[in-house]
């Protein structure tokens, strides 16, 4: 039997519930804070053990604290997800039927695209042909900003991408719905929407930008891990582990993180 949850675990869980998703560094700070508040035995770097205790108790409630990597900044995040849903019903209580339909269509566009993004123009076109109830331009813009505010989508320069919260929460749903049609990262084996692709027509493997950064770090002659063809794309910088920013990988020449693809969080 799993050890019972202490007040420190409950406090951590409550915070996860109100926030939905937090970064790994926030989680570490929160772990320390919760243990210290309730006088619980605290060991730094044992965050995953701490969370495992919570997850053991969440199992019968079909909830789980899941770790995932952001495609945008390469940092790890912890999200509280439902595991019963094989649909996007997690959002169902917050949005109307036609808004959910728009979200599904936006997801379709994003998964289908090479860039892993959908333009607001394309989304507006979808809004016009919804089966449930059409959305006008202003309504669509309002719903999209709600999606961004609730952390399901990210927006930059009129292009929309799936947020880390969305991918961590709905990865199971997306794999079920899209099956072989969804891109998967060759390095970390998770869903890859914003990624680089091997240009070799008989290879074509995909790799997340942060995974590229880690895998090809300090290699002057980057080669595809599958077919060994030259990797022609620009190699991004390795993500800063302290950074909270969601900008594209900041340039830092001194970085201690070793490229260890095996550390990538596998889908549990």
């Amino acid at each position: 039997m799993s050890p019972p949850m202490g007040d420190s675990h409950k406090r951590f869980l409550q915070t996860m519930m109100s926030n939905g998703i937090i970064s790994a560094s926030q989680a570490a700070a929160l772990h320390k804070h919760c243990c210290e508040t309730h006088g619980a035995h605290y060991v730094a770097d044992r965050l995953d053990d701490f969370i495992n205790i919570i997850n053991a108790h969440l199992q019968s409630l079909f909830m789980h604290i899941r770790k995932g990597m952001s495609e945008e900044d390469g940092l790890e995040y912890y999200a509280l997800v439902n595991v019963t849903e094989t649909d996007i019903t997690r959002m169902a209580s917050d949005y109307a039927d036609n808004e959910l339909e728009l979200f599904r269509k936006t997801m379709d566009l994003i998964v289908d695209s090479e860039s892993g993004s959908a333009s607001s123009t394309d989304i507006l076109n979808c809004a016009d042909s919804l089966q449930t109830k059409k959305l006008k331009k202003k309504e669509t813009e309002h719903v999209l900003s709600k999606f961004v505010q609730d952390k399901w989508l990210n927006e930059k320069d009129g292009e929309y991408t799936l947020s880390v919260r969305c991918i961590v929460e709905m990865e199971q749903y997306m794999r079920t719905i899209y099956q072989d049609l969804i891109k998967v990262c060759h390095v970390c084996h998770n869903i890859a929407l914003q990624c680089q692709m091997c240009e070799n027509p008989i290879c074509g493997i995909k790799v997340h930008l942060p995974c590229v950064a880690r895998y090809f770090r300090a290699r002057s002659d980057p080669r595809c891990p599958e077919c060994s063809e030259f990797w022609p794309h620009e190699i991004p910088e390795i993500p800063q582990s302290q950074s909270q920013s969601s900008q594209n990988l900041p340039s830092s020449s001194k970085e201690n993180t070793a490229p260890t693809p095996s550390r990538r969080s596998r889908r549990s």
Binding site: D7, T15, L61
Partner: protein
């Protein structure tokens, strides 16, 4: 467009199990009290423990979602939307639900209205400051609410609405205007806070034109520690005193008052 293989969502293949115990589908809450022990016995035999576990999880989810929006939960709604055909063993289910809330989340399901069977979730963990991640992210209205609760408290538990509006006006929060942080202040105070059961807004009988008075709502009674409120009031008593004195307040005074209140409110 590309072909898309869509797997059937699991939610559609969930078969409704008809129980041997036939209960009227139009049941209102009243029928909860008319369950016989033989009905309970039969229900226990009809449902596997897995199914019952599942129901417990569904009720927990249902309550969490409602509570997230601070909507009090009616027992009739739990019966109608979640428990349904398991109604005969609702007591057992609810007991387990309460235990889950306590053991896993550190929350307590409290009946604030025993006549109509309405519940809210209150926190057994004390709110503390200095959290690296807030348990109540982005809710500026809490400050507004506490000012009103304090005024009511200090004035003996009931006050005429004018007193609330005058107090707020002195803090540069005008119910007549749209406030940049709170929006439609009058609506937030008389509708949102009332619906959430933090305040009661009641007509004073025999008044012409109609006047209203404010009291603490049932949720405030259960959730707000009077001791903490006294501390808060103690820290700003001088300020509140000034607000209700006939002394003309200069602009400088108002700034001082607001900043003192803000500082104290952060600690709540």
């Amino acid at each position: 467009m590309s072909q898309r293989k869509r797997a059937v969502p699991a939610s559609q293949s969930k078969t409704k199990r008809r129980s041997q115990v036939s209960l009227d589908e139009d049941d209102k809450d009243a029928n909860f009290s008319q369950i016989t022990s033989s009905q309970v016995q039969r229900a226990r035999e009809n449902f596997t423990s897995d199914q019952i576990d599942r129901k417990v999880a569904e009720v927990v989810q249902f309550i969490l979602i409602k509570d997230q929006k601070k909507i009090p939960i009616r027992r009739a709604d739990i019966g109608k939307h979640v428990i349904k055909e398991y109604k005969a063993i609702y007591i057992e289910i609810m007991n387990r639900v309460c235990r889950k809330f306590d053991q896993v989340f550190g929350l307590k399901l409290v009946e604030i209205d025993p006549k109509n069977h309405i519940y809210i979730l209150i926190n057994k963990l004390e709110p503390i400051h200095g959290e690296p991640v807030s348990m109540r992210p982005g809710n500026p209205k809490t400050g507004l609410l506490f000012v009103i609760l304090s005024v009511i408290f200090m004035k003996g538990g009931v006050i005429k609405e004018n007193l609330v509006w005058n107090t707020l006006k002195k803090l540069r929060v005008d119910p007549g205007e749209k406030h940049e942080e709170f929006g439609d202040v009058k609506k937030v105070v008389t509708d949102e806070f009332v619906r959430q059961k933090y305040l009661e807004y009641v007509k004073i009988p025999h008044t012409e034109p109609v006047e209203y008075e404010f009291r603490w709502g049932l949720r405030a009674e259960k959730e707000v520690s009077k001791l903490k409120l006294l501390k808060f009031v103690g820290e700003v008593w001088a300020v509140l005193f000034l607000l209700h004195s006939p002394i003309q307040l200069t602009n400088l005074s108002v700034t001082v008052i607001t900043s003192v209140m803000k500082r104290s409110l952060i600690n709540l």
